[in-house]
């Protein structure tokens, strides 16, 4: 149904997508002397690592024309599970919870036919409640082995960088070299044609939601290791931030268009903006407003054929 007009390519990369982070980088290095310090750059890296991982998951869902607003709550839930379950089982339990969330979202969207936005908003609300129930007050202790994973550095490169590289490599492998990835683009471009060509659309869609929730869980593990505590509300901004990041990276929310490169660029742009506002001394609340503006701007560039939800 959604036939996009004037589509340059499947990656959705446009000059603006590439220019924005570059321009921001140049502008910030002139505006603030502290920006180019190694300390600050590794800070930015640490700040955007979780967002990048979540956004890559969001990309997978966006490619088939879905959206997952529950990623933030899943991330929060993960941090609460990590600090509440016994250290040996914490990671496994968190990942299982992620799979379960993805299954519920996927089944709700594909089999029960609930609109993805409504379905994931419902699970977002539910999971937020669950996270608050498990661990109402921020705190707790994270297993030691996790702390090392996020804080060590190899050859002067912080661990967060390796998390980013790992996530990007897995995502690019999945999307550009496997049959699974190719089929996601097919489903997103035209679901009915994809189904007629023998793609099991329902299973692929459920798979996408599971992948998305699991990446949110991985990001949650990273965050709890980095902050070394559990916080039932830490993930709240991630839902819209990840949508903003992928939209800025040229991913079409209608499905079928997007690339890992775009998501990386979009995330970096968003991260640089946040960091830049911090350095220049703009109130964090105005930062929320700025994210809203950016989100509007980014989606204004993608005209859809449908009006409404």
């Amino acid at each position: 149904m959604a036939i996009s007009t004037a589509k340059p390519n499947r990656s959705g990369l446009r000059p603006a997508t590439i220019a924005l982070p570059v321009l921001l980088f140049v502008a910030l290095s002139f505006l603030s002397p502290a920006f180019l310090s190694v300390q600050n750059l590794s800070n930015i890296n640490g700040q955007i690592a979780a967002l990048l991982i979540v956004s890559l998951g969001q990309l997978v869902v966006a490619l088939i024309g879905g959206i997952d607003l529950s990623v933030g709550a899943t991330l929060s839930l993960t941090t609460t599970i990590i600090v509440s379950v016994s250290p040996d089982l914490a990671v496994v339990a968190a990942l299982l919870a992620g799979v379960a969330v993805g299954l519920v979202n996927g089944i709700g969207v594909t089999i029960a036919g609930v609109h993805p936005l409504i379905m994931t908003m419902a699970s977002m609300t539910f999971l937020q409640g669950l996270a608050l129930l498990i661990h109402p007050v921020p705190g707790g202790t994270v297993p030691d082995y996790l702390g090392d994973l996020a804080s060590t550095s190899a050859a002067g490169v912080p661990a967060a960088f390796f998390w980013c590289v790992g996530a990007v490599m897995i995502a690019s492998f999945l999307l550009s070299t496997t049959r699974f990835g190719l089929r996601l683009f097919a489903i997103g471009a035209n679901q009915a044609s994809a189904a007629r060509n023998g793609i099991a659309v329902k299973w692929y869609s459920i798979g996408c939601y599971v992948i998305c929730s699991v990446t949110a869980t991985v990001a949650g593990i990273f965050i709890s290791a980095r902050v070394s505590s559990g916080d039932a509300t830490v993930g709240a901004p991630f839902a819209l931030d990840s949508v903003t990041a992928i939209s800025m990276g040229g991913v079409q929310l209608a499905g079928g268009t997007g690339s890992v490169t775009g998501v990386v660029l979009g995330t970096i742009a968003l991260g640089l903006l946040t960091n830049g506002m911090n350095l220049v001394g703009i109130s964090p609340f105005l930062r929320t407003a700025a994210t809203g503006m950016l989100l509007l701007l980014a989606i204004s560039m993608q005209r859809r054929n449908v009006i409404g939800v």
């Binding site: 709700g108 029960a112 036919g113 609930v114 609109h115 936005l117 409504i118 379905m119 908003m121 419902a122 699970s123 977002m124 609300t125 539910f126 999971l127 937020q128 409640g129 669950l130 996270a131 608050l132 129930l133 109402p136 819209l240 949508v243 929310l253 109130s283 609340f285 105005l286 930062r287 929320t288 407003a289 700025a290 994210t291 809203g292 503006m293 989100l295 509007l296 989606i299 204004s300 993608q302 005209r303 859809r304 054929n305 449908v306 009006i307 409404g308 939800v309």
Partner: protein, 321 residues
């Protein structure tokens, strides 16, 4: 044809048909009855007339918001910016940042609501962005601006007119439900009797067919969004009057609660079904259930989980395929 209609009339009273039409009623009616029955047994104090009236008063802001939300959802859109609008209204009215007399402030708020609704509608209909994302972004912008402004000037006491409206009662009936009624009756009648109402139903039933048959699609969606923001402003008035002061928390759960209420009230995406009364009953049901949960000792987490489960289940239950 007319003969058949006449003959089929008594059929409506056939027991099977009565059960069928009863089953097709929005979940809100049965849910409210079940909740009231449950409360009668476990917490009889909650169903005393005095407390029920208090709960009705508490439900009024939600019910007003729900009126606008249901209109948006009937044209297959969604308005999640209502919380942001209420927050902004609360700030305009109570912070004293604008030094005008109270009536002028109220008018400014109304104009502000129209402006937000128009901006939402423009982005949704002209730019054709997803309404969820647009209105969430609007909410982000509004709350971000209000929060950063409140560092300069915190919200304070509500205007006297609003406190009067929110806290006095006529006889034993509090004013807020009457405000709701004054808004509900014209809107519901208008939707039921006007051509505009028919357009709303047509778009809800089949947007493509509606678009192709020349229905002023864009205009209808625009009006729905403007009305929704406007009703959010009124809901804000009642809420602020009722609370007595502005705060940065005000209206935070209204977007989600109103969405839940509309779904429970029988408005479903893509069927064109749904009236105005169901969502209003659902608004009461939700408020009542929150009170019940509180009295049973289940706090915020339980409430959120319940809401999430309700949204998912209610959205699933009636889906045709």
């Amino acid at each position: 044809m007319s003969e058949m209609t006449i003959h089929s009339l008594p059929r409506a009273f056939h027991p099977l048909n009565i059960t069928r039409s009863f089953l097709s009623l929005p979940f809100a009616y049965a849910g409210t009855a079940a909740l009231l029955a449950f409360a009668c047994v476990t917490r009889p104090a909650l169903v005393s007339p005095v407390l029920l009236l208090l709960i009705v008063r508490q439900a009024a802001p939600l019910a007003i918001t729900v009126l606008g939300q249901s209109l948006c959802m009937r044209v297959l859109s969604l308005d999640l910016s209502v919380g942001g609008v209420i927050l902004a209204v609360s700030y305009i009215l109570t912070s004293g940042i604008l030094k005008y007399p109270e009536p002028v402030l109220l008018i400014i708020c109304i104009l502000f609501g129209v402006a937000v609704g128009t901006a939402n509608a423009f982005l949704i209909t002209r730019i054709r962005a997803s309404s969820v994302i647009v209105t969430l972004a609007t909410a982000l912008i509004l709350s971000g601006v209000v929060f950063s402004l409140s560092q300069l000037r915190a919200p304070g006491e509500a205007p006297a007119i609003l406190r009067y409206v929110g806290q006095t009662r006529i006889g034993i009936v509090p004013i807020p439900p009457l405000v709701w009624l004054a808004l509900f009756v014209p809107v519901a009648l208008f939707l039921r009797m006007s051509v505009f109402g028919r357009y709303v139903d047509a778009i809800g039933a089949n947007p493509r067919a509606a678009l192709m048959s020349g229905i002023p699609y864009v205009r209808v969606v625009t009006i729905a969004h403007i009305l929704s923001s406007l009703l959010a402003v009124f809901s804000g008035f009642v809420l602020i009057g009722f609370v007595g002061a502005g705060s940065l928390d005000i209206g935070r759960d209204l977007p989600l609660s109103s969405l839940v209420a509309v779904i429970l009230g029988g408005v479903t995406f893509g069927s064109g079904k749904g009236g105005s009364l169901g969502p209003a009953v659902a608004a009461f049901m939700l408020t009542f259930s929150f009170n019940l949960l509180t009295s049973l000792g289940i706090g915020e987490p339980g409430r959120l989980m319940l809401q999430g489960a309700i949204i998912a289940l209610a959205a699933t239950r009636r889906n045709p395929d």
